[in-house]
Amino acid sequence: MTLPPTGELDGPRPPSTRRGTHDMLAGVAEARDNGFSSRRTLRTGVEFVRQLRRRRTHLVALVLLALPLIIALAFQVSSPESSSGANNRDFTGQLLVTLATTGATNFALFTEFASASFLLVVIVALFCGDTVASEASWSSLRYLLAIPVPRGRLLRQKLIVALSLSLGANVLLPAWALVVGGLFFGWAPAQSPLGGSFTTGEGLTRLLIVVGYVSLQSLLVAGLAFLFGVLTDAPLGAVGGATLVVVLSNILDSITALGAYRRFLPTHFQYAWLDALGPAVQWDNMMRGAGVVLTYSAAFFALAWWRFQRKDIVS
């Protein structure tokens, strides 16, 4: 390392502790090829670390881990009369409640039923809506883009990680509920809310179908939240907006006067996974639901990409 002639530098002398740095700066050779390749920017592992170390991720994990325990304890302290229920076949939620303490699989199914409509929606909206919007709100988005992470790649990497975390939440909850249910209520074979029981393997297969379908359904929330996250710089707006649209769609869905048109509402088939709990799995509604959700989320993702490619980043 060659020291430059200090006589060329005027102005106040830097503090002695810093001088080494200054000298080093001066001594570094001019870089030619800096080894940059856009394909290596913001690798999935890096984005995972960025997201996994966030408080909200920890909080979500905590909620997901605590929920089955709370539900199990609630069942434990409630009187057996109130939980072992009547043979009332009118509402499936009721049916799943009455069966919840039968064993591990039924407990997991009930937990899934209880959380699919709102908790998992919010969590998925959080993971997917907040990922770009929070970068914008921290102003770190512009520095990522100036690295430069190409915009399409930034969205792709963010989406891969957000969807992985969402899927993780969707899998963690029933898996953990299965364990908790087993510890609290034993490992009895699952019972169908339509009557009859499954073998352990069949029960787990059904649970797997349910988890798969619920995960697929959450793609809709993911797409919506992601789009909102790209459109707005406020993380709360993205998460809240996506949740709001889901709630709105549910309200419209409850208006039976809309008749067959309700089938095109994004959330109309959100409970189609109940079809997997009968004596034989009924696929038709789940197929419709999957088609609707895939179409909507493809549109949302395409819009998000289109918008982000053209957006002026002013946050």
Partner: protein
């Protein structure tokens, strides 16, 4: 001038409008679909005269949009009138039929008396109405006086349709819903033989009461012979020859061989009045002569409230091919299996449709072994208390009551005392509730079923009945499902009455009992139980006390139950692959879209301007106009050469930050170009990797420590870690041990220093810093100045934007001055500051002037331009 909607607001407005338009369209479609124009006209039409008096029938014609069209004669159920048919008629008219709805004689405003679908009266009326239809110009005719017409109706109207089709050849199609085959069998059913059975007194009473009496007297509008026969039967519970003859005359059973019109038979599974067997008998009779027939077992029935409008899709599907010539006649057998699915709409259990190719050949039986010792049961004197399984006329009340009371019975909680089966492998201990009165019921249970089973139709079992001291027996058999917890369910709420006569007291008699026709999916692990009781409140019961011993065939403890089932497929509608394909295609379209975008991006990028490879920044004609028409930068051009420290000067709003944002590829210029090292800047341009930036404040992750922020930022660049010069950056940040604390806890100055360090990671060839001294204290500012100057001496380039003039003057070699989006001046600091020539400073200006004047030189005194500040203020002064 501003357009009313620009930029983001326009986007919001467009999106909002689109959503509103979508909702409006949806509402419009829904509204219009319920409001299509259907013209109606009411007319009194002459019917068959009765007792020499003319009888007129109250009719309504519903006309479709296009005429002439085929016609439908729509008949109502017992006790109703044409008004009940309005919804169904309207709906059918919208599907392209001329619909003639009418009140049958004895009902509504029609005249005459009720003759219970008698051929001479009601059937003749229908023929007259068909002739009337042939006179209407809107009705399509097959021949003069022969309209193309179908007859449809529920219950009373259904039987009328069948009877009319048997009597009148002009009828082209029939749709009969929840109706009877033989009324004498329906009202006096016997599950153990052909003899008239037990009088269905509650239903008969309800029906009798349904013909309201405008006329005084006990018979209301019933024809006197019918009324008298009914009253005898109701009093005695016995069917005499006269009433049997009347009922048989009113039954389609006798005319089935004459029906040639394709016939649809829908029968309700919740129907204690007309069983599924009645539809089976009709279907057999009609099909025997080669007439196309389709049988549907649907949800609901007389025990549930059903509206005629529910039948429209069935009727339309059947009549479409025959009357309108569209589609093909589908004669498959359809069965609604209750509780076989869960509605995604409501979360409630729903019936799914089981489809079999043929109603007759798809029937199967499964042999299930049932066990139980002979059991003695008692009928109470006076027939009370009696089991309650149905409450005719009250719809859904009954089955839920039965199900609930059954569920309340758990093993041990309500073990039936007395006569219940002693403990055994298949003993039934839990039967209780309204439907099962202890001491009145004998039960024969199967072992838990190893696999699930569909019960569809009437199962049969052979029993041995011993009356203790009477010669006749009245019993009620039913098929009960018991779940593993002992919960009891009576499928469809049905029982089959048995009436045996000619018994000898104490002598057993073997009878084959046809259990009620039910449809139920029995899950594995549940047990089937044949229950035989002595009472049912819906039937006429003997008043003397009785005792019977019921045993399985041959007094054995084991017997065979032949469980009826159907060979068909559930969800016969097929899997909706198209939905999935559309979804998958939409997703798949994203891929080529992304590829095209990527290719276009790469193609654009390649141009590198010749001779500019070594020039860090070249800005030419840069214009940035925002959506609202505001020009933040308006035609700015300047160059920054290697090794320079350039100060970008300007008051707030001059466009400095906008220019730097374009330089970073964050926003797209409206016009002009920015080139870095010869490469055009656009979002994601790789040349940006040679630039380190701090624009408009730090952008750090608050939840990470300072060190992790730097490390992760560098990791995000994907470049080798050793190139980061992390140590140098940490030295520049100078945060000491605070570098390990969360950035969220930092002061503004600490964040600023960390952000500068982040910008300098990897020692980029061009360093762009926007207001770098914000939040720094004077020693830090001095140090930063030193860092930047040193940085430039290595051949790298630094661009600083600032409004702190002293700062720029002390740090920079060159300066670019902007104001209101325009470039005001650019050049070396000395040039800008010294613009206007060299200066000579003298201590005594007056003396100097005098000397110069003496030497022949003209001179004048002007203020010295000592600082950039003065120059700057002068440059922008005119506009301030």
């Amino acid at each position: 001038m501003r357009a009313p909607f620009q930029g983001r607001r326009r986007l919001v407005a467009v999106a909002g409008t689109a959503v509103l338009a979508l909702v409006a369209a949806l509402v419009a479609v829904v509204a219009s679909s319920t409001d299509a124009p259907v013209r109606t006209q009411s007319q009194m039409v002459a019917g068959t005269a009765e007792n020499g008096q003319p009888v007129t029938l109250d009719t309504s014609v519903y006309l479709p949009r296009t005429v002439p069209a085929p016609a439908i004669l729509l008949a109502h159920g017992f006790g109703g009138s044409k008004d009940d048919l309005a919804d169904a008629a309207r709906s059918l008219a919208r599907r392209g039929y001329v619909v003639l709805a009418y009140s049958a004689r004895g009902f509504g405003r029609s005249g005459g008396l009720v003759h219970l679908d008698a051929p001479e009266y009601e059937v003749a009326d229908a023929s007259k109405l068909i002739s009337y239809l042939a006179t209407l110009p809107q009705v399509l005719r097959d021949a003069p006086g022969d309209p193309r017409v179908g007859v449809a109706g529920p219950s009373y109207g259904g039987a009328l349709g069948l009877l009319t089709a048997g009597h009148d050849r002009r009828i082209d199609a029939v749709a009969a819903d929840i109706t009877w085959n033989d009324l004498s069998e329906a009202l006096f059913p016997n599950a153990a033989g052909d003899q008239p059975g037990v009088f269905k007194k509650q239903w008969a009473g309800v029906l009798f009461a349904a013909a309201p009496g405008e006329q005084p007297g006990a018979c209301g509008r019933f024809a006197p012979d019918l009324c008298a026969a009914y009253q005898r039967a109701a009093a005695t519970g016995e069917a005499d020859a006269e009433i049997l003859a009347l009922l048989r005359a009113a039954s389609p059973a006798g005319v089935l061989d004459r029906i040639t019109a394709p016939t649809l038979l829908t029968q309700g599974e919740r129907d204690s009045l007309f069983s599924l067997g009645q539809a089976d008998a009709n279907a057999r009779g009609i099909a025997a002569h080669g007439t196309p027939v389709k049988e549907i077992w649907r949800s609901g029935g007389h025990d549930r409230t059903t509206s005629a409008a529910d039948l429209v899709p069935y009727v339309d599907d059947w009549f479409g091919p025959v009357l309108q010539g569209r589609g093909r006649l589908d004669t498959s057998f359809e069965v609604a299996v209750p509780g076989s699915g869960i509605s995604a709409d409501t979360g409630q259990t729903v019936a799914r449709s089981l489809r079999a190719d043929d109603g007759a050949t798809s029937r199967r039986t499964n042999q299930v072994a049932v066990a139980g010792p002979p059991q003695t049961i008692y009928a109470p004197a006076g027939g009370s208390p009696a089991a309650v399984t149905t409450v005719p006329g009250l719809g859904a009340l009954l089955t839920d009551a039965a199900a609930l009371s059954g569920a309340a019975a758990r093993p041990g909680s309500a073990a039936s005392p007395g006569s219940a089966a002693p403990s055994g492998p298949a003993a039934l201990t839990g039967l209780a509730g309204l439907a099962m009165i202890p001491g009145q019921v004998a039960a024969f249970a199967s072992a838990p079923l190893p696999t699930g089973m569909l019960v569809g139709g009437s199962s049969t079992i052979t029993l041995q009945v011993t009356a203790r001291d009477t010669t006749d027996a009245t019993l009620f058999a039913s098929l009960v499902v018991v779940d593993p917890d002992g919960g009891v369910d009576l499928p469809n709420g049905l029982v089959a009455p048995i009436r045996l006569t000619g018994l000898r007291p104490g002598v057993p008699k073997s009878v084959t009992v046809t259990l009620p026709g039910v449809v139920a999916q029995i899950p594995a692990g549940h047990r089937l139980v044949v229950a035989v009781g002595t009472t049912d409140s819906a039937y006429h019961l003997p008043t003397s006390p009785r005792g019977y011993t019921i045993a399985l065939d041959g007094a054995s403890v084991r017997g065979d139950l032949a469980v009826a089932t159907i060979d068909g497929r559930l969800a016969g509608s097929g899997l909706p692959w198209s939905w999935l394909v559309v979804g998958a295609a939409a997703m798949a379209l994203l891929l080529p879209g992304a590829l095209v975008a990527e290719v276009r991006r790469r193609r654009r990028r390649r141009a590198v301007a010749d001779g500019l490879e070594t020039v860090p920044v070249v800005i030419e004609g840069l214009v940035k106009e925002y959506g609202d028409g505001y020009r933040a930068v308006d035609g700015v051009s300047f160059r920054v050469e290697s090794g320079q420290v350039v100060g970008l000067l300007g008051p707030n709003g001059a466009g400095k930050t906008t220019a730097l944002r374009v330089l970073m590829g964050l926003i797209r210029p409206t016009a002009g170009t920015v080139r870095l090292f010869g490469e055009l800047v656009e979002p994601g341009a790789p040349v940006l990797s040679k630039v380190g930036t701090l624009v408009e404040g730090p952008g750090l992750l608050p939840h990470l420590s300072g060190r992790d922020n730097l490390r992760l930022f560098w990791a995000a660049t994907g470049r080798p870690p050793r190139d980061a010069r992390l140590d140098a950056a940490l030295e520049i940040a100078g945060l000491g041990p605070s570098i390990e604390r969360r950035v969220g806890t930092y002061s503004q100055g600490m964040r600023q220093r960390l952000a500068i360090a982040q910008a300098m990671l990897g020692l980029p060839e061009l360093l762009v810093l926007d207001e770098p001294t914000n939040g720094l204290d004077p020693p830090q500012i001095a140090e930063m100045r030193e860092v930047l100057r040193r940085y430039a001496t290595t051949g790298r380039t630094v661009v600083i934007s600032s409004h702190l003039l002293a700062e720029v003057e002390q740090t920079c070699t060159h300066v670019v001055v902007m104001h209101k989006g325009l470039l005001v001046a650019a050049g070396p600091v000395e040039e800008i500051v010294g613009a206007g020539g060299t200066q000579l400073a003298v201590a005594n200006p007056e003396e100097a002037q005098r000397i110069l004047a003496a030497a022949g030189m003209t001179s004048h005194v002007m203020p010295a331009q000592r600082s950039l500040e003065e120059v700057f203020l002068k440059m922008i002064g005119a506009d301030q």
